[in-house]
């Protein structure tokens, strides 16, 4: 019960913030959640001991699907476009996963990278269809059938992004605590023992991979709707690389850690851009190093150490009292 309560409370808080914070921060948060979903998918794979440098594959496949169904089929409804985009992510993961589930470690990483770079190449080359490297526009969506004015549309998209993220975060939490979730962790710890237990390593990895593809797909669709423009950069290896780095920065022990990491990263980068347009990379790099060296489990350490401290204090008060 408790995780559901926490999710609902956080959701209410964040939805409320949507009416308080300035519009550009809201937009930043929307982007952070959209990327956060892809980062969460990287974290899922990391829990199974797999590093994917190619989540951009699903992210871009889904984002372009959204742009295409809006242009070609005239789809306007944001929820429908999101669902179609996510489906594209699942589909691509379902196909590539058949090949990839055999691979581990750096070979898995490099193959995922190769696949996403091939998609990048196709998007750049299919100029007549995709607008090449300049990308293509995503039409203005309707939300629940309503054509909204600019500012309301932003709030609507924020709420859509938020609710999708919250729902998926809860489902992912349930997954992590399901037998399949534990099996994925066992893959990282010891595959051979897992097989002795009668579980299929291949199947576990395949399912995790497809799930991760769906999560990235959802993120990509939300990204396309929020930004209003898609470009091949979404499939480039640096995009996927960033997902991995933020996942590690946020921590992978928990559902909220990668999402929180995404928000912190986005805000940190916006401020580095604002106050140090010349050396923002240096600032980001230094922040990363500090986090890695002093917080081995990622930013989530802040939460766990705070909880521990409160517990210790409570306990000592009780004893004193």
């Amino acid at each position: 019960m408790r995780p559901l309560l926490i999710t609902v409370a956080l959701l209410a808080l964040l939805a409320g913030l949507g009416f308080v914070l300035p519009a550009w921060i809201i937009f930043l948060l929307s982007l952070a959640f959209a990327r956060g979903l892809a980062i969460l998918s990287v974290a899922l794979l990391l829990r199974a001991g797999l590093v994917s440098f190619g989540q951009g594959l699903f992210f871009a496949a889904s984002a372009y699907t959204v742009a295409f169904v809006m242009r070609a089929w005239g789809v306007r409804e944001a929820a429908l476009a999101t669902a179609l985009g996510t489906a594209a992510g699942v589909l691509v993961a379902g196909v590539t996963g058949l090949l990839l589930a055999r691979y581990r470690e750096i070979f898995f990483a490099m193959l995922t990278l190769a696949f996403s770079m091939v998609l990048y190449g196709i998007l750049v080359k299919a100029y007549a269809l995709t607008g090449g490297s300049d990308g293509m526009a995503v039409a203005t969506p309707t939300i629940a059938g309503l054509a909204l004015e600019a500012e309301r549309l932003r709030s609507g998209l924020y709420l859509l992004t938020l609710s999708c993220t919250a729902a998926v975060a809860y489902l992912t939490f349930r997954y992590m605590n399901s037998p399949l979730g534990y099996a994925a962790r066992a893959v990282r710890d010891n595959e051979v023992r897992l097989e002795y237990l009668g579980l299929s390593t291949w199947g576990t990895i395949y399912l995790t991979y497809v799930l991760a593809g769906g999560l990235s797909g959802l993120g990509g669709a939300l990204m396309a709707l929020n930004v209003g423009h898609v470009d091949p950069q979404l499939a480039y290896w640096t995009t996927s690389g960033e997902f991995v780095f933020v996942a590690l920065l946020g921590g992978i022990g928990n559902v909220l850690a990668p999402l929180g990491g995404a928000v912190v990263f986005e805000i940190l980068r916006a401020y580095a851009f604002k106050y140090a347009p010349y050396i923002w990379q240096m600032i980001m790099g230094s922040a990363m190093l500090l986090i890695i060296l002093f917080m081995p489990e990622g930013l989530w350490t802040i939460y766990t150490s705070a909880v521990r401290r409160i517990r210790i204090r409570r306990w000592s008060w009780r004893r004193l009292g």
Binding site: A114, M117, L289, I292
Partner: protein, 298 residues
């Protein structure tokens, strides 16, 4: 038939460049088990240092062929200073961490160095092409080729050969092999593992800088050159098999030839060439061409 000769020459020329930029990465991975993203930054540092020293050298009207020694000097300078600094100052703190975290550390270092280079050298490009033009051209198959490409080939062969001899025929090389096999047992046997690590990393850094220094005369040394070589080097190293010297050489050769063939026959495929080769090799040989099978530990 003539085109195939040209493709072979172009392919080998590109391959020798690829080998130079990736051999350091495979060495470091082989021993330290760290995939070094900052390899690109060391390459860029080598290129910038090489370019500025070359510019200064030619301003003084000295013996022009000495400029090649200057490029070697630049690579040594960068590697010997940056290598130990990075290994002792940063990497040794993360040896017991997850491989992904180690990757992240080198990525953070890459970001920092990227801006540090910009602060040090500015955003204006540097041109140091005198050594490139100095050697003139040769005619091959009716086409002029710069002799510099063959110099690069020579350096690549020499670097690869020297490294192979160093690892397989010297006492220190045997220590390296021991550390690769099992760092813990090596420590127990009295091998100074940290020393092996720092020397190997420095060697890798020198090789990265060497690649950069000898690339500098054929390009304009400008911001952003670091990121371009990282994924190329990754791909070559993975195709060959991580940590394998022979693999890096063969990987570079395959990528070089395939790319040259694409340029001459199907230019549209050039963008995909390296990734297609990588995907094809990994699908057939998941460990890369030369890597040893890992033991399965229960």
């Amino acid at each position: 038939m003539n085109t195939w000769l040209i493709i072979a020459v172009d392919g080998v020329a590109f391959a020798s460049w690829l080998f130079l930029i990736s051999v350091g990465m495979t060495l470091i991975y082989g021993v330290l088990r760290i995939l070094n993203v900052a390899h690109g930054s060391l390459y860029a540092l080598g290129a910038y240092t090489g370019a500025s020293l070359i510019i200064a050298y030619f301003r003084h009207d000295l013996w022009p062929y000495g400029s090649y020694l200057v490029l070697f000097g630049a690579a040594l300078l960068v590697g010997v200073i940056a290598g130990p600094l990075i290994e002792r100052g940063l990497l040794r703190w993360v040896y017991d961490r997850d491989p992904a975290v180690q990757l992240l550390v080198t990525y953070a270092l890459f970001l920092i160095l990227e801006d540090a280079i910009k602060l040090g050298w500015g955003a204006d490009p540097y041109y140091a092409y005198k050594p490139y033009q100095l050697l003139g051209q040769v005619q091959l198959g009716g086409i002029a080729y710069p002799r510099y490409s063959f110099l690069l080939l020579g350096i690549a062969v020499a670097a690869g050969g020297a490294l192979w001899l160093f690892i397989n025929r010297t006492r220190f090389g045997k220590l390296i092999v021991a550390v690769i096999e099992d760092p813990e047992i090596s420590t127990a046997m009295g091998v100074n593992v940290p020393r092996v690590y720092v020397i190997t990393f420095t060697l890798g850094a020198v090789l990265a800088a060497l690649g950069g220094a000898f690339t500098a005369p054929m390009i304009s040394v400008a911001p952003g050159i670091a990121v371009e070589v990282i994924v190329l080097a990754f791909a070559v190293v993975v195709i060959g098999g991580l940590g394998s010297l022979e693999g890096a050489a063969l990987g570079a050769l395959i990528v070089g030839i395939v790319r040259a063939a694409a340029v001459h026959h199907i230019p549209d495929l050039e963008l995909f060439a390296i990734y297609l080769v990588m995907a094809a090799v990994l699908l057939v040989r998941p460990q890369g061409l030369f890597a040893r099978e890992e033991r399965r530990r229960i």
